[in-house]
């Protein structure tokens, strides 16, 4: 009996105009989004490669290793084709030098504001907005529509159990809505292969995870649709209620959660932090100048009473020691500045984590947030992307600065250019090197942080679980509502 009911439901759906419309619209959208995504990804990769070459050329042109400033870029990921997440909003490069802290700047949207007006269209957006809407369209009259047509009474004139009937409805709608979508999804994946997008094994796992997540999400909306249909007697009312739920769940609640958290947990703006960093930096250098002056005065005092030759000899003896002391205190200033910068950022980062946790907890009232957060996690374009990159760039900075210092020492030249004024020889300017370029062949390479499917799935367990719970609740609710449904 169950199989018969499923067949009937499936046939009804496949022959309906809404199936044709849904299938066509979703197919077009998924294919367009994948095509645009591939193009954007290829552009990003080309630009990334050019930028790396430019950065290397710039290093090669520097006058010496002490002045080298490297620029590292965020690496595009093939997963951004399906879930762009925060890829376009977060800065894509950072300067790497001993004097500056790592900071991702220049987001793709800030460089190309044209694309920021209407934003990007990707697979996750289609599932989140369009497919959920179609799921409602497929289910709003699943129960009460049959009652209005009188077919519900007819169906139960035979020995059909309510559980079987509801199960058949659900399976029929599920098969009718989800299975046909595999066609554009598979074509989309073929496009990805055709354009030779380098998809790793981990990426394939992520894609499978994303498809599974999307199925869970659409299943949930099917469940909600059947639940509301089983709770109401008129299809027009259930439709209206479902639309309100959809608007609230998809468009409003996620935003409200984040906005409320933004109001509840205030965070110092970056401009203010930077001004504080600059103030500390200036104060510290000014302190250094004062300390250096007093050190030199002490050294002068040590030489008091010596004649010119003795002074010169004393100075020659002590020169190396003094240089080391001065260099150490200069390095200490730099360390203090970096430490202070990091401390200030750490404070902000801690507050941000509190804000994020609150925002996501509030937003997760809506299952749409769970879907979006999990999709972004799986694809590596999540909220943690920025800090992940900045952290790995900081580690790289340490390696790079140590490398540049070593190279500088090996070259035996001083940083910048040196001006010597001699009463006999006049002015001599040493630029540290001739016109040859620096050898960049052994520069340490920056490797983007690895985002493995196993880690991202671990981070998304909560959202997968929440979607599962919502599905169970909606189906449980549907069964209870339908068991008590008045079929007349």
């Amino acid at each position: 009996m169950l199989s018969l009911l499923i067949q009937k439901e499936l046939k009804n759906i496949l022959l309906s105009p809404k199936f044709t419309a849904t299938f066509l619209v979703c197919s077009i959208l998924i294919l367009i989004s994948v095509f645009i995504g591939i193009n954007e990804y290829e552009n990003a990769v080309t630009q990334f490669e050019i930028n790396q070459q430019i950065a290397q050329q710039d290093i090669a042109q520097s006058s010496n290793w002490g002045q080298v400033r490297n620029i590292v870029h965020r690496e595009p990921t093939p997963m951004q084709i399906f879930v762009s997440g925060l890829h376009f909003d977060v800065g894509r490069l950072s300067s790497i030098s001993s004097s500056n802290d790592v900071k991702l700047t220049r987001s793709p949207y800030s460089d190309e504001t044209l694309f920021a007006i209407f934003r990007f269209i990707d697979f996750a957006f289609i599932v989140q907005v369009v497919l959920s809407l179609f799921a409602i369209l497929f289910t709003y009259d699943a129960i009460n529509g049959e009652r209005e047509n009188g077919t519900l009474k007819l169906a139960f004139a035979s020995s059909v159990s309510r559980v079987n009937y509801l199960l058949a409805k659900f399976i029929g709608i599920w098969l009718g809505l989800i299975v046909p979508l595999f066609i554009p999804i598979l074509i989309g994946l073929l496009l990805v292969l055709l354009f030779k997008v380098p998809i790793s094994g981990s990426d394939w796992m992520s894609i499978l995870g994303l498809i599974f997540l999307s199925i869970l999400y659409v299943t949930l909306f099917i469940g909600i649709g059947i639940l509301v249909s089983a709770l109401t007697r008129k299809s027009s009312l259930s439709f209206l209620l479902l639309l309100v739920i959809w608007i609230g769940g998809v468009l409003i609640l996620p935003r409200m959660g984040v906005m409320a958290a933004g109001q509840l947990v205030e965070i110092e703006p970056v401009a203010q932090i930077e001004a504080k960093q600059e103030a500390f930096q200036q104060a510290r250098w000014s302190q250094y100048s004062e300390d250096l002056s007093s050190v030199w005065r002490e050294r002068e005092q040590e030489m008091e009473g010596l004649d010119e030759n003795e002074r010169r000899s004393y100075r020659d003896d002590k020169e190396w020691e003094w240089l080391e002391i001065d260099d150490a205190s200069r390095k200490q200033v730099q360390t203090d500045i970096v430490d202070n910068n990091r401390k200030l950022l750490e404070d902000v980062q801690n507050k941000k984590i509190i804000q994020q946790n609150l925002a996501f907890s509030l937003a997760r009232i809506s299952p749409v947030s769970s879907f979006r957060l999990a999709a972004m996690n799986i694809s590596g374009t999540d909220i943690g992307m920025k800090s992940r990159y900045e952290e790995s760039m900081r580690n790289y900075k340490d390696t790079f600065v140590a490398f540049a210092e070593k190279k500088q020492e090996e070259s035996g030249q001083s940083a910048g250019f040196r001006i010597e004024i001699d009463s006999n020889e006049g002015v001599k300017i040493d630029f540290g090197r001739n016109d040859q370029t620096l050898d960049t062949s052994d520069i340490p390479r920056y490797d983007a942080p690895l985002v493995l499917a196993s880690n991202t799935f671990g981070n998304s367990i909560l959202d997968f679980g929440l979607l599962g719970i919502f599905i169970i609740l909606s189906f449980g609710g549907s069964f209870i509502a339908f068991l008590r449904y008045d079929m007349r």
Binding site: D111, A271, A279, G426
Partner: protein, 471 residues
Amino acid sequence: MFKLIFLKELKEIIQSSRFTISFAVCSVLIILAFFMGAQNYLASQSQYEAAIQENRNQIAANTEWMMVQHSIMLPPQPLMALVNGISNDVGRNISMSNRGELRADNTRFNDEPIFAIFRFMDLEFIFGIVLSLFAIIFAYDAINGEKVSGTLKLCFANSIPRASFIAGKLAGSFVGLSIALLIPILIGAAILPILGVQLSSDEWLRLALIVFSGLAYFGLFLALAIGISAMTNRPSNAFLIGLVVWIFAVLIVPRASVLISGRLDEVPNVDDITAQKNRFRAQLFQEDRPKMSNFKPDEGTEPQEVMTQFSSFMRELSSTRQEKIDAFTERVNEEYINRKNRQEEVALALSRISPTSVFTLASTELAGTSLGLQNRFMESAKDYQNIYGNFITEKTGSEGHSGFRMVMVTTDDEGEEPETLDPNEMPKFEFAKTSLKTAASNSFLDLGLLVLFNLLFFGGAFAAFLRYDLR
């Protein structure tokens, strides 16, 4: 007769359950949008003031103008919080230097990516997405619903011209729903001054124009839905078509058209432009190196005087170099901006196929958060750079950071402590907003298109209804 149909439609709408639900949802959303917008603006304002104060403190801690690290910020505007546009994607801070190129950093979404995940709920979003959907929900069965329930035949048993009927339907729905929307909008607008957001008369007028464009946009979706209803026999089919049209018009066409057409007219990447400038700068420096190496002071000059001569020589050299760099940068930038403008024009023209794009462009232009925001901020910053440059030159006698600078610090304990700087002396940065007249004339095309879409869809609905089979 028109009046009678109009009143009947109005009454029907107001008494329907969908009106109650939609009115409640829209009211909550609109009032929330105003409330959250006001809160957001106040928070941005206080952050802006704190950042300015921090910058002033930093200036006040200095004793030399030459050591000052000055930065300017894009001041938050109340309308930016109500219609976000691209304001969250534009750099808000510029580190000021008296010469050379300026760059705006710290976009809000980069600094606070949490808000980029779901974005903000502003008036553009509510009108553009939510209300357009409600317009379809309200009107998808305006004609065929009456046919299915049999009231259409009954109606035309009397001597009612079809023109009056459809005009009455449209006017009734539009007036009923618009008034219902205006109530929360007025409440929202009243909340602004209560929460401490003071709008100037110019800004109130802009807000009124935004609301007008929103209502025109809502009206065109009503006319579209009535048109679809007059072209189909079953409400379910009308809704399905309406929904597909809505998905394409609101969610797909604006994004896809900009993404596709934007890539058709390729603009050189900003990184390439930066690399070109860097290469030119390096090349000039390379050319100047022999001159620097060959510097010879006058015979028998004292070391202190040698330093002064060398400093002046280097300043002159770097000044000439900077002039060349400025000229090159200006040329490259101009070429880039021209191509970028052309790309934007093509992309936006194509996106205007969708009324949603038209509404977005009109409302963001009026709110001052359109694509022009970035250019305006940069132009204001450049104007300020001249003022700042003159100020620094006057204070230090040097052209400042971009060239060569040699500072001689003496360490005399006996001398008086140098005085700290007075931040009030620093010229104030003024962001040049577009005037209402310019904003209105820039959005004239889009406002006109909105009216045109209304006429077109109403004309379509009218023509379809004239040929409608009433049986």
